[in-house]
């Protein structure tokens, strides 16, 4: 039965989560005072040194802190201290801009390359070389040439999310079934009309798969980019809390980055399902 399977899967998930939290809690309990030290000295030291508190926060610490953040996600205490909601909004806006620019470039370009085997072969080596470059490698170059840190961050998102989309579009367009193109040709359909009514719908699922991979990459890149550029965004937040060696806040940020990434992926998955067709 389908519904009982779902129920059982849900139960197993909950048991796994509980076990994980339980082990986490036990592993990070404080061990009590380790060495004896004068009270005057102990006052100047942190909990790790005095109470033997684990350097990793436990699930209860993280939960309490998370609740605190969720209660006021949009506070603004000046340029370097803003609520998590504001930080996430900045990151999403940057990712959105860079990603949309990449879509605008990658899909038309991919379409052209896909329709011309010559271009496809000629550009392939360039794409293969550019594709595996990490965002952090682009960052110094971008900062140095663009001379504007927020534009640099957007550029890095753009440059890193363009390749999977481009490659998938090329692949999708190039592998449209020959019969369909031949039928269109027999019916004397013009090139432009053929591109929009035959090739685009046929390649759409592959293109959207490329877009789905790209949005994942864009969201991966933003954290690294913002850690370097600073100012605002969830990546900056992680860096700022690391600066304070506050692992609790870093874990919260990681959790939220995961949730947002999943949401972005789900949105594109839904679009992919909309254009998928049975053959």
């Amino acid at each position: 039965m389908n519904s009982s399977l779902r129920l059982r899967a849900g139960l197993v998930s909950i048991v796994l989560l509980a076990a994980f939290l339980g082990i986490w809690h036990l592993a990070t309990r404080s061990t009590g005072a380790t060495t004896t030290m004068s009270p005057e000295y102990a006052k100047l030291m942190g909990l790790t040194a005095t109470q033997g508190k684990s350097t990793m926060p436990g699930p209860l610490d993280v939960g309490a802190k998370l609740l605190e953040h969720l209660k006021r996600p949009f506070y603004d205490n000046g340029p370097n201290d803003k609520g998590l909601g504001i930080q996430l909004a900045y990151s999403i806006a940057r990712v959105g801009t860079g990603y949309l620019l990449a879509v605008l470039v990658a899909i038309p370009l991919g379409f052209l390359i896909g329709m011309s085997p010559l271009l496809s072969k000629a550009l392939d080596p360039f794409i293969q070389v550019l594709k595996p470059i990490s965002p952090l490698a682009w960052m110094p170059l971008a900062l140095y040439t663009i001379k504007d840190s927020s534009v640099s961050a957007i550029f890095v998102i753009f440059i890193c999310s363009i390749w999977p989309m481009l490659l998938n579009t090329v692949f999708g367009v190039a592998s449209v079934r020959k019969e369909w193109i031949n039928v269109a040709r027999t019916l004397e359909v013009g090139t432009v009309r053929r591109a929009f009514t035959v090739i685009l719908p046929a390649a759409a699922p592959t293109i959207l798969t490329g877009m789905r991979i790209s949005v994942g990459i864009a969201w991966l890149v933003i954290v690294a980019a913002e850690m370097l550029v600073g100012g605002t965004g969830i990546g900056y937040y992680v860096w700022n809390e690391w600066n304070n060696l506050s692992i609790t806040n870093v874990i919260i940020a990681i959790l939220l980055i995961g949730v947002i990434g999943m949401l972005l992926d789900q949105i594109l998955a839904r679009f992919t399902r909309m254009v998928t067709f049975p053959e």
């Binding site: 030290m37 004068s38 005057e40 000295y41 006052k43 100047l44 030291m45 942190g46 790790t48 040194a49 350097t55 205490n77 000046g78 340029p79 370097n80 201290d81 110094p140 900062l143 140095y144 001379k147 504007d148 840190s149 850690m227 370097l228 550029v229 600073g230 100012g231 900056y236 860096w239 700022n240 809390e241 690391w242 600066n243 304070n244 060696l245």
Partner: protein, 459 residues
Amino acid sequence: MSTFNDPFDADRNLQSGCVCGQHASAGEHEAALTLRCEPVESEEKRYEGVVASAVMRAMFPQDGARRAFLKSVGASTALAALSQFFPLKTATEAFAQAGAPEKKDLKVGFIPITCATPIIMAAPMGFYSKHGLNVEVVKTAGWAVVRDKTINKEYDAAHMLAPMPIAISLGLGANPVPFAVPAIENINGQGITLAMKHKDKRDPKDWKGMKFAIPFDYSMHNYLLRYYLAEHGLDPDTDVQLRSVPPPEMVANLRADNIDGFLAPDNICQRAIYDGVGFMHILSKEIWDGHPCCSFAASREFITTAPNSFAALTRAIVDATAFASKAENRKQIAEAIAPANYINAPVTVLEQVLTGTYADGLGGVKTDAKRVDFDPFPWQSFAVWMLTQMKRWGQIKGDVDYKAVAEQVYLATDTKKLMTEMGLSPPASAYKSFAVMGKTFDPAKPEDYVASFKIRKAS
């Protein structure tokens, strides 16, 4: 020495007897050359003093007449009489904001360490707004990013390591862009922290093969650590490994056993102790007492396009530095700069750094009120010393015009003028000699100094 001089004191000589006008003779002035600026009870009073002096000077051009007047009516009556005809309060306010700034909304970048104290505290404690500026202090991820963002004009001015503006002006590790330093952020305020497992290895001679972290190549941290190692017979280029590591990663790396120690800016050293991963080997003060650490820097272009904004900014920084140099203000400062918006560190850690009563990591509590100190005057001899070390370690090659570079980058003359206007007493000369680990440095003979070191990079 009080820098606030009462203009209604009959015995005071208002017509200056020396360059700064605060000493009876040039000789006495020379003697005070080593003195630092010390703030008076309140900045307002200091300004009032400066303005009142000017007014008294204008009313009684002759010294004798002024003395006679003051002697006959007394200082308080004179003040009351003067206030009646001349709105001293308004004049003081006007003076404090002399020359309307061309640009009021400014961005200043900083790295979250206690060296940036004056830059940071000037925002929450109102030193910028007092000088008519609306400054946003922006936390920045690393020194290279500070450099790039300042060169790109995203920042109008920034917190930099003291040698950085020199390096940028010379085009070391960047395009050559003329930069200038109107004020030193802090003096002292660093330390060598070692991992707990080395607590019995206190002699640097045993450090061969160890890995140390420094924050940046063009930093006092780099030069002081190299100097310290070399004085103990270790070649920093071959006997140990020096790595450039951003400060927050230093503590994590020390905990993970990736490095054996670091010479880092403070609150990072104390943080390692606070978390129980390291101990304080020595303070950088023990290598060179009174060494500069970080600087306040702006591009020449900003200075020429917005001279009034730049002057107001410098005034705010000098004011904040003067405030920070007073021991009794340090606790209040620690609280002001600890929140997430600024340094983002536990208040206890900042308090230990700023007050100088700190846990050493080995179970003892030490006290050194000058662990970190604040003195804005940009001694050009500091710049010459940094250049000698750049030469020594091969960062610059060939002939160096030490004096010309120092004078171009470290704006001692302008700062001196500004400080005098503010009622502070800057030193008369921009050069002074000092000792680093007992070895005296003569700023007039930099080449001989470089040549005198046995361990250095052959060039």
